[in-house]
């Protein structure tokens, strides 16, 4: 139970950083070897569900290493990232946290998320899905060593993906 509580607190703190636009502090939660990946999802019949998501190495919405994530943060900070300037107002809700694997300080954790984005006067976007993270315990703290983000939508109903999941 303590472990569950610790992971949930970690996600709440992480979400608070993103929603407060503290992207540099958020980057500090990521391992140097992080892979941040959001595959393309397809609408498939039941007997072809093995092809529902693209595989690593094929097309993806995000397929980032740490350097690429830092570029994304630097982009937002540039003052010329119009998709986020004026900045979006986001709220990350992270629920249904499940530790599915925990061996020698490395955990696989699945959670559900709802990312709500309010933008300009009346723009609104909602992304729901599942995250599968690898959390690594380093000196008593967690680092995110990988994050796989599985959105529900196959046709994204938003004009862009300019926020972090």
């Amino acid at each position: 139970m303590a472990r569950q509580y610790e992971v949930e607190r970690f996600y709440a703190d992480e979400a608070a950083l993103l929603d407060a636009r503290r992207y540099r502090d958020w980057l500090a939660l990521l391992a140097d070897d992080i892979r941040y990946w959001m595959p393309v999802r397809r609408t498939r019949t039941t007997n072809e569900l093995d092809g529902e998501f693209t595989r690593q190495g094929d097309m993806a919405f995000f397929d980032d290493d740490r350097k690429m994530l830092e570029i994304r943060v630097k982009r937002i900070e540039s003052g010329y990232a119009w998709a986020e300037d004026p900045p979006s107002r986001t709220r990350h809700l992270v629920t249904n946290v499940r530790i599915v694997y925990d061996v020698e300080g490395t955990m696989t954790v699945e959670s559900n998320f709802h990312l709500h984005r309010s933008r300009l006067n009346s723009e609104e976007d909602n992304w729901l899905g599942m995250r599968r993270d690898t959390l690594r315990r380093v000196e008593g703290k967690f680092l995110i060593a990988s994050r796989h983000v599985f959105l529900e939508q196959t046709l994204l109903l938003s004009r862009n993906l300019s926020n972090f999941f």
Binding site: V40, R42, N160
Partner: protein, 439 residues
């Protein structure tokens, strides 16, 4: 055949003043007529042949706002059907891709084979008393389906000229840029998202090298794109009949070598594929030199130096689906393939460093075509107007040597007005803008 239009579409596009009436970007009646006069008549991009290599492989796409199935029959032929059962109209295919033996309507079980023939009707004997003539109730098939260098197109109009003739030298050059990268196949995963903009504003943008320094200013500032080792000062515009065009920077072997040197550290397309005899044979000197963006009228952008295609699908006047297809040589070494795929993933698509900022511009532009006051004032496409001398540097290819300009955008709108005015293909053939003189 449509009746002669009550609306004077040519009045919306003033090629002399370089202006376009804002109403064409949000008016519902104009949009509905576009579906009839453009999308129901043109060649529409469906998919690349590598996406449907085997019998029963299918890829769902659109012709205008009609859902269509692109598939391959048992004889290896390409087939395109309206995705609508002839009984009650239900979709006969609801996955967006995959493989089937036949298309089963989930409403009452009418079943169609891979050539669209109605082969199964539950109760054909007991309820229909065999009165239903099954051979008359097959899926509605495209009038023509043709492939150019592996790129599959369909048209619903039997009068549409053959694909190669429709493409003309400029359209063929554009697709040849995409085909010039070896034995290409589509990388798994078509990225799809929706932008709240009119489809024409998205198309217009692909020729727009003026917006890059402002819209995409964050790309160099974030360290994603390097400062270029040269200046993109010289541009080539190629204009084709029926609205095809290519517009963008002119490259030279020296620029390509400099770019390739820079791309070891940064994500840019290596342009040295142009320096081969095969590229020269397929594209000619204008095509080899043009690093510009082709558009196959109406809505297929050939992007990333021919490695990606971006399709802009109208969903009503105020909404457009953006689909990205990425194509690489199937024999590419794994490390290069991986690097190329990552580069495309990072550059375009809704999370792409270059694309994130486009959508808001286009949607705000679209919004300002609806309101009473803003729409009184036309949009301006007058850059370099009256200074673009069309020459024939390559047989059959009308091109302009210039700098950043808006010729291709205005050309697209002129062609749009031609398409909207013509009551049928014979009328369009004899009455459309020709790329000659000074524009």
């Amino acid at each position: 055949m449509r009746e002669d239009p009550a609306i004077d579409y040519r009045s919306f596009v003033d090629a002399r003043a370089g202006t376009v009436d804002r109403r064409i970007f949000s008016d519902q009646a104009i949009h509905d007529e576009e579906m009839e006069r453009i999308f129901a008549r043109c060649w529409n991009f469906m998919c690349h042949e590598s996406q449907i290599p085997r019998a029963g492989d299918f890829f769902l796409n659109f012709i205008g706002q009609d859902s269509v199935i692109a598939t391959r029959d048992r004889k290896g032929g390409l087939q395109v059907f309206l995705n609508s059962c002839r009984h009650r109209g239900n979709a006969v295919c609801r996955a967006d891709s995959g493989r089937v033996k036949s298309f089963l309507c989930t409403y009452h079980g009418w079943t169609y084979d891979l050539e669209g023939k109605l082969v199964g009707v539950p109760g054909h004997k007991s309820f229909y008393h065999e009165d239903l003539e099954r051979d008359k109730w097959g899926l509605v098939r495209a009038a023509k389906v043709e492939s150019y260098k592996g790129f599959v197109f369909a048209t619903m109009d039997p009068e549409t000229p053959p694909l190669e003739e429709y493409l003309g030298p400029v359209g063929r050059m554009g697709l040849s840029m995409a085909a010039a990268h070896g034995d290409v196949m589509v990388v798994d995963g078509v990225q799809k998202n929706v932008i709240g903009c009119n489809w024409k504003l998205a198309v217009d943008n692909l020729f727009d090298w003026y917006h890059v320094q402002i819209s995409h200013a964050s790309a160099p500032l974030s360290g994603y794109l390097p400062k270029l080792p040269y200046k993109d000062e010289d541009h080539i515009v190629a204009l084709g009949e029926y609205g095809h065009a290519i517009s963008g920077p002119r490259t030279t072997p020296e620029i390509r070598a400099a770019l390739a040197g820079a791309s070891t550290a940064v994500p840019l397309v290596d342009e040295r594929w142009r320096d081969t005899p095969e590229a020269m044979a397929a594209l000619g000197p204008v095509g080899v030199a043009s690093r510009g963006h082709p558009n196959i009228f109406p809505n297929l952008w050939i992007a990333s130096s021919g490695v990606q295609l971006c399709l802009r699908i109208p969903r009503g006047p105020l909404s457009t689906e953006i689909w990205w297809f990425t194509m690489l040589d199937k024999n590419m070494p794994e490390d290069r393939r991986r690097a190329s795929v990552e580069r495309m993933n990072h550059t375009f698509g809704p999370a792409g460093i270059l694309e994130q900022d486009d959508g808001e511009n286009w949607s705000q532009s679209t919004l300002a075509t609806r309101s009473a006051l803003a729409r009184r004032h036309p949009l301006n496409f007058a850059m370099n107007l009256g200074r673009g001398e069309i020459v024939e540097r390559q047989p059959g290819v009308a091109s302009i040597d210039t700098h950043i300009n808006e010729h291709a955008q205005l050309w697209t709108y002129r062609a749009w007005a031609d398409w909207m005015t013509a009551k049928d293909w014979p009328a369009l053939k004899c009455d459309h803008a020709m790329p000659t003189g000074v524009v």
